[in-house]
């Protein structure tokens, strides 16, 4: 039995009168890559933000390594150190070079020495293929490079789990590949990942489980094979068909060989 890293129990979230998340329950085991798909405005990003405690939940519980992180008195800053987050719009620290972006959390949050932090930062930059850009400022990097630095920044904290919030949605089409490549490698290296994306090729190839969310609910979940070829709900089939048409046609043709 694999160890459970993240467990969400009956999570709910409302903004005023609109219910964004209803009774979401979800388990992420060590080394799993879970991909969440669904139409926009169905609470996928909100779910990630709740897990990272960037958004307060209204009901339910979240456990990280079997410890409840939503319990009163838990230090949010402490929890977030162990959860890596990658945003749609990168959000690199614009006044810092790539390497300083990867170092600052280690130094200011984990209290590492600058020398140790630098070594680790170089390792992580190498992992995302950007060691040679270490001294570039975000303004001098392409979108894809920025996102890879952002991934390195999160990895440098040695997180228990990585959350990706539509990491390629703000990228030019030709830059998407390099980011997905890095994410695939991470998944293969055994990183535990919870990914919100519209990249169906990535979902099919990398996901251990796909979760289809709509209207704040988990409508269906299963292996890529089940979800793509034998979905239980007509709505799942319809959504997947539409989105594959839109985003992943080139990948779709490749999948004939599967």
């Amino acid at each position: 039995m694999k160890k459970t890293i993240l467990e969400i129990e009956n999570l709910s979230k409302t903004y005023g009168s609109s219910v964004v998340l209803k009774d979401i329950s979800l388990k992420v085991n060590e080394g799993d890559t879970i991909v969440i798909i669904g139409p926009s405005g169905t609470g996928k990003s909100t779910l990630l933000r709740c897990v990272n405690l960037l958004t307060k939940i209204d009901g339910g519980k979240i456990f990280l390594d079997s410890e409840e992180i939503t319990a009163p008195g838990v230090s949010e800053d402490n929890v977030r150190q162990h959860i890596g987050m990658v945003f749609q719009d990168f959000l690199l620290f614009n006044h810092l070079t790539a390497i300083d972006n990867v170092m600052i959390g280690q130094v200011k949050v984990l209290g590492k020495s600058p020398a140790d932090a630098r070594e680790k930062a170089l390792q992580e930059l190498e992992r995302v293929g950007l060691k040679d850009k270490a001294n570039h400022y975000p303004g001098q990097l392409s979108g894809g490079q920025k996102q890879r630095v952002a991934i390195a920044r999160a990895l440098a904290m040695d997180p228990r789990i990585m959350l990706f919030d539509e990491p390629t949605s703000a990228l030019d089409p030709e830059l998407i590949g390099e980011v997905l490549e890095v994410m695939k490698r991470l998944a293969n290296d055994g990183m535990t990942m919870l990914v919100v994306t519209h990249e169906m090729g990535f979902a099919r190839e990398v996901a251990d489980r796909i979760i289809f969310m709509e209207h704040g609910l988990i409508q269906e979940e299963g292996s890529p094979n089940e979800m793509f070829y034998h979905p239980k709900h007509e709505r799942t089939r319809e959504f997947l068909w539409k989105i594959t048409e839109l985003y992943g046609k080139h990948e779709d043709q490749g999948s004939e060989k599967l």
Partner: protein
């Protein structure tokens, strides 16, 4: 014209001491304004309800009343409460309090321009609010603020002339004394205007230099990018 030049040259040495006092007033006020204004801006943006209300009250009070009134209240009014201070002290305090309110608004604008995303990203790697403000928000805001903030030393330098009204021996007071001796008000006030102009010009050079030296590639306000 040549006549005035000769007159200007003859009275120029008298302005040196006055110029020093004017610069002391300016930098004293600027520094005090920075010390008050930066925390006020941070409190206004991140302070929560009560503290941001306090910051707003301070800013509105000192932006909403003339600096001359503030100076007179401090210099002539505070002694009634048992607080007396030197002319210079009163002038620096008035200018600092006044400037702090304006600087707070410059800083607030810059902090808000840095954007909530940066704060979110900082919190996401486990930084506390304080650490994020200190190491992520302010280093960016302080760079963004320079072009707008550069108005402040210049306007403060000129505003320092109100100190004349409580007889601080600044440029303006010096000019007045020269007028009494030479009976040439137009020539003298033109001369002091030139001195102010030169000081502002020199100040500007330093500010532009600072802006250039602190620049980061690709890091600008959207409006500056054009």
């Amino acid at each position: 014209m040549r006549e005035w030049f000769a007159f200007f040259q003859s009275i120029l040495p008298n302005f040196i001491q006055g110029a020093q006092v004017t610069l002391q007033l300016t930098f004293g006020g600027l520094l005090l304004g920075l010390i008050i204004g930066l925390p006020a801006a941070v409190l206004r943006v991140y302070g929560g309800k009560k503290l941001s209300w306090l910051a707003i009250a301070y800013i509105e009070l000192f932006r909403g009343t003339p600096i001359l009134v503030q100076l007179f209240v401090i210099y002539f009014g505070l002694p009634d409460l048992g607080i007396t201070m030197s002319r210079m002290g009163a002038a620096v305090l008035a200018m600092g309090l006044n400037s702090g309110a304006y600087q707070a608004e410059y800083f607030r604008g810059a902090i808000q321009a840095v954007g909530g995303g940066q704060m979110m990203a900082a919190r996401a790697i486990g930084m506390s609010r304080y650490t994020a403000i200190r190491h992520i928000i302010l280093p960016q805001a302080l760079r963004l603020v320079i072009p707008a903030w550069s108005n402040e030393p210049i306007s403060l330098l000129k505003a320092s002339s109100v100190a004349f009204l409580i007889a601080v021996p600044d440029l303006m007071t010096t000019a007045k004394a020269i007028v009494v001796k030479t009976y040439d008000p137009i020539g003298t006030y033109l001369a002091v205007a030139v001195v102010y102009l030169v000081l502002v010009y020199v100040l500007n050079i330093f500010l532009e230099l600072a802006e250039k030296n602190l620049q980061i590639p690709g890091f600008k306000l959207e409006a500056q990018q054009r």
